[in-house]
Structure formats: C-alpha cells, structure tokens
C-alpha cells in the first residue's frame, strides 16, 4: 500500500543522484580515454591516406582522393604481392614449428619426476623470452657469421666448409624460424603445463589399472586433456597469420636478404613508407594487413566459440 504512495523520481533527478555517486569513476576514466583517443584512435583517421594521393605539403586531409588506385598498384606489382606471400610463408612455418614445440616440451616436462630438474629446466628455457630481438639477433649473428661465427669456426677446425647461414636466402629463413622457436618454446609451455595440472589424477590411475604404459597415458590421457588449450591457441595463432614482428625480421636482416627472404609486410611498410616517403602505398598495405587481421580474428573467435571454447573476445 505504502509502495503506491512512493512517487518515482523524475528522470533528471535520478540522473543527478546517479552522477553524484558515480562521477569519481568517470573522472578516473578521463585520462586513459584521452590517451586512447589521441594515440590509438586519432592515427586510425590517418588511414584515409590509403585512398589518397598523399602530398606532404597538403597534409592528410588536403591531398586528393584517388579511390582504390593505391591498392591496385600494390596488387599489380610483383614485389608487394611477394611481400604478402613471404609474410604468409614465414608465419605458416612459424606455426608448424613454433606452435608444436611448446606442446612437446610441456609433455616431456610433465613426465620428469625430479622436481629440482624440472625447475632448473624451466628456469633455463624461459630465459630467451625476456631477451630483446636485438639481443637475440646479436647472439645468433655472433654464432652464425660466415667468417667469424663460432659454428663456422668449429666446422672449419673439423675440416668442414664454412656455411653462409645469414647471407643465403634459404638458410636465413631456417635461422629466422629457429630463433623464433628458440625464443618462445620454453615460455609457451606455461599454459600447457597449467592445463596438464588440471587433468584429474583419477584418469591416470584408471589408465594404470588398465595396464597403460607411460606412452599410452600421454596419448590417451594427457593429450586429450590439453586438446581444448591446443585448439584455442591454434585458432588464436591462425588469426594472426598475416601479422609480422618488425623487430624480429628487421634485426636479423642484412643486405643479402633484405629484399628477398626478409621482405615482409612490416619491413616493407617501414622501407617504402618511412625510408622512401611513399606514405600512401605503405598506409594502404598497413590497412590491408589490419583489415585481413581483424576479419581473421573474428572468424577465429567464432570458430573457437563454436567448438565450445571460451573464445578470444
């Protein structure tokens, strides 16, 4: 009865009551939002350059529109098409080797009974994750240089031939994939080891009762137990198949490979855009990469959710 007599507050009143309580939270959001808009969203408006014939004098907005000419130019030139294909190729190879190594390593680590050995191994194989690409490239350049690299010195001391690991375009790609695996294989085991910890001990006991050996247990208990994690991570990686780490490619690059094996989207954008000043071509290439990237991520997210995983977004 008394409920009826309560007059609902007017809209404006309700709003002011709400704001008097919550305005500090909006105050907190001001600074991060300002940074987000200025440094993340404002550059997105610069993407219109991809549809313009950019002239520095006239600026982004004053330059003339030229429709899809920049994209036509990119897709009609063997070099830029080659750059896209090379990016795909290196990323697929990365997926093949870089994705499987952590799975294998985590299963091996899980089979180790000595806690001390496991800890020491983990400490050692996590280390490369914390090194910068310049450092990593420096380490491997010093190891692999043709004349003064340690590997070649040892090889020639033993009567072998010196191998141009970094100058030969095929071998350079092998090295590139190797340093990627080297950097990430240890770190990648963390998520799988966590998933393995989550597997019920009863499953292993049941397998033991059934007479399963250790290999059978890996195959029938451990692997199915981390299947969900593998699928999620695989889909996430597929979503990034057109991305490319500028620092990893660029720091390992040299004049022998820079226009061939090491010519990927990120380094192409840097060279054509910043070094040669063809801003609109570089921006068009960047936009292409970004749009394909976001489409792939959306597809990957749908796929992960369709398979009953938690998805990415």
């Amino acid at each position: 009865m008394s409920v009826k007599t309560v007059v609902p507050p007017k809209r404006r009143q309700r709003f002011s009551v709400y704001m008097s309580r919550y305005w500090p939270l909006y105050c907190m959001l001001i600074l991060p939002t300002a940074f987000c808009l200025l440094f993340k969203y404002w550059p997105m408006t610069g993407l219109v350059m991809a549809f313009k014939n950019f002239k520095m004098m006239r600026g982004i907005w004053g330059s003339a529109w030229n429709g899809l000419d920049n994209f036509r130019y990119l897709f009609s030139r063997p070099e830029s098409v080659g750059v896209i294909l090379q990016t795909l190729k290196l990323n697929l190879l990365d997926l093949l080797f870089g994705f499987t190594m952590p799975i294998i390593l985590s299963i091996l680590l899980n089979e180790v009974r000595s806690k001390a050995f496991k800890r020491i191994t983990q400490t050692v194989i996590y280390l490369p994750h914390f090194l910068s690409w310049v450092i990593i490239a420096s380490l491997f350049i010093m190891l692999l240089r043709t004349e003064t690299g340690m590997i070649n010195i040892i090889a020639s001391n033993m009567g072998g031939k010196k191998v141009p690991y970094l100058e030969d375009n095929f071998l350079w790609q092998v090295v590139y994939i190797f340093i990627g695996v080297w950097q990430s294989m240890g770190w990648g085991t963390i998520i799988y080891l966590a998933a393995i910890t989550g597997i019920s001990a009863e499953l292993y006991e049941a397998a033991t009762v059934d007479g399963a050996g250790r290999f059978a247990k890996i195959w029938h208990v451990t692997l199915p137990g981390i299947r969900g994690t593998i699928v999620t991570l695989l889909i996430m990686n597929l979503g990034r198949i057109l991305g490319s780490s500028f620092e990893r490619v660029n720091s390992l690059s040299n004049p022998y490979v820079v226009l061939k094996s090491a010519n990927v989207i990120s380094t192409y954008i840097y060279r054509v855009g910043l070094a040669n000043g063809k801003y609109h071509y570089a921006t068009a290439m960047g936009l292409f990469q970004n749009v394909i990237g976001i489409i792939l991520i959306l597809i990957a997210d749908r796929a992960a959710k369709a398979m009953g995983e938690s998805g990415l977004i």
């Binding site: 600074l31 440094f39 993340k40 997105m44 914390f130 003064t148 080297w182 966590a194 820079v258 801003y279």
Partner: protein, 304 residues
C-alpha cells in the same frame, strides 16, 4: 602352479615395464638437457667473448669460457660517454613509461569493474578494440610529427603507455580476487571511490601491480622499433637502438661501413660486452621476472 606362473609372468612384465620406463626417463632427460643447453649456449658464448682478451677473440679461441680473462671490454663500454648516455636515456624512458603506464592502467581498470557503471560496455569496447585494430606505422609517425614529438623522449614514453592488454589483466584480477564486501565496508565508513581505490583495492592488488610494472618495464627496455622510427638524433638513442646500429643491423644505412672492418678486433669484444651490458638488468631481475610474468600469464589466460 598356474598361479605361480602367472605371478612370475606379472613380475616379468613389471620388470620389463620399468626397464622401458627407465629408458623413457633417460630419453626425456637427454632431450630436455639438450634443449636447455641450446637456450644457454648462445648466451654463454657472447658472455665468454665479453670477458676475453682481444687477442683470444681475434685468434678465434673463445667458445664457452673466457680465454685470457680481461675486463677491457667493460672498461671501454663504461668509459664511452655515448654508451652511458644511451643507458641514461633508456633508464629515464623506462621509468617514465612504467609510471605512466601504471597510472593509466589503474585508472582504466578500476571503474570497469563496477557493473552498475553506465557506459561500462562502451569504454571496455573502446579500449579492447585497440588490441585488434590500429592506424599503423605511417599514421602514427605523422601524429608524432604533428605533435612535434619526433626526436624527443616523449615519443618513446607516451604512445605505448596505454595498453589494453594490461588493463584487461588488472581488471580481471580486481574482479575475481577482491571481495565486494571489503569495498562496501569502506563505503559504509564514508570512503569515496578514490579512497577505496587507494586504501582497499590497490593494497590488495600488489602481486598483479608488480606483474604489470615488470610487463611495462621489460617491454620498454627491450623495444627498439619505435625508437628506430621516431629518433634520428644519436644523442637520444636508447640502448637497444644503439646496439642495433653497433651490430651493423641497419641494412640500408651508412652505419654499415662504420661498424665494419676498420677496428674489427676491439669491435668484437666491445660488441659482445654491449650485448651483455644491455641484458644485465634482465638477468639481475630474472628471478622476479619469471615469477611475476607467470602470474600475469595465468591471470591473462582466465579471460582474454
């Protein structure tokens, strides 16, 4: 008799299994030791070079242990003013970047944990979208140009300090690990949102705050891409970019000749020393890094 035979059969199988199992153990240990050595040896080689004499390096006798132990490389690096300048720039930028990044992450993450906040979904989307889409190199470069930040340390501090990924990690920690009842108790005592943030939420978030600090600091310490784009004055080179030029990694520039043949011998030891020098903070902090990075990856994996 039958039972006896069965028993001996089972015994035999047990022995057989354990022998197979032991072989399996040995193989696993051998593989893991090889992998571990692979991770360490490249580093040991360069460390050995940095502690060796020029003569030993020139005659190619240095592998994994220092030959003719010497600290000449370190002396030269420490006495080189441009190197010390790069170190100073890197420390300055790393500290500023980390502080700013933490402030932005805290201010963004806390409000987003409040379900009753109107516009929460909008802000969350606004932030998260930047993880998947961006303007790219050229528009970002032109922005730096418009803001007159090219060739200043600001270009290394400001743009990357907003990190959506770190905001997600902090938010999901605050959401899952801090009980609402604690905050409510503080509100009943008359605390404001700011008070609750500083006196309740942040003190309870110290492990994840440490993790984020290290994420920001290590990321900034290790990056050189943006410095390569935005910094052309050698006075402002951060350590990693300095190393990049020193190692002759710039495939297009005249620096190639500079890093090349003229002073090859001293060059090698100094190069190795510089690599060690730029890695030293990471090595010193490594025990913390390992622990806190694992924490971070676990929180990130729960949602995201």
């Amino acid at each position: 008799m039958e039972t006896n035979m069965e028993r001996s059969k089972r015994k035999h199988r047990a022995i057989h299994q354990s022998a197979g199992s032991r072989a399996f153990d040995i193989i696993i240990h051998v593989i893991l030791i090889i992998v571990g050595l692979l991770c360490l040896l490249p580093f040991l080689h360069v460390a050995a070079m940095s502690f060796s004499s020029n003569g030993a390096v020139i005659s190619q006798r240095v592998f994994f242990l220092p030959v003719e132990f010497s600290l000449d490389g370190y002396k030269m690096v420490i006495q080189d003013p441009s190197m010390m300048r790069s170190l100073w720039i890197t420390v300055l930028v790393t500290v500023g970047f980390t502080a700013l990044g933490m402030i932005l992450s805290i201010l963004a993450a806390y409000p987003l944990t409040k379900k009753a906040l109107k516009g929460r979904g909008f802000f969350a989307f606004l932030y998260m979208f930047t993880m998947y889409f961006g303007g790219g190199l050229i528009p970002e470069y032109l922005l730096m140009n418009d803001l007159k930040m090219l060739n200043t340390v600001w270009s290394l501090i400001l743009p990357l300090s907003f990190s959506a990924y770190n905001i997600i990690i902090l938010r999901s920690f605050m959401q899952s690990s801090i009980p609402d009842s604690l905050e409510e108790a503080a509100f009943l005592d008359g605390a404001s949102y700011w008070g609750v943030l500083f006196r309740v939420v942040l003190p309870l978030s110290t492990p994840v705050l440490a993790t984020l600090c290290l994420f920001f600091a290590v990321g900034r310490w290790n990056a050189y891409g943006d410095a390569l784009y935005y910094i052309s004055s050698s006075k402002l080179y951060p350590l990693q970019l300095k190393l990049y030029y020193l190692m002759g990694m710039a495939s297009d520039a005249a620096t190639l000749a500079e890093g090349g043949s003229t002073n090859y011998v001293t060059g090698e030891v100094v190069k190795a020393t510089c690599v060690m020098f730029a890695t030293l903070p990471i090595i010193i902090l490594y025990p913390f890094l390992q622990r806190y990075f694992v924490t971070g990856i676990m929180i990130g994996a729960v949602k995201g």
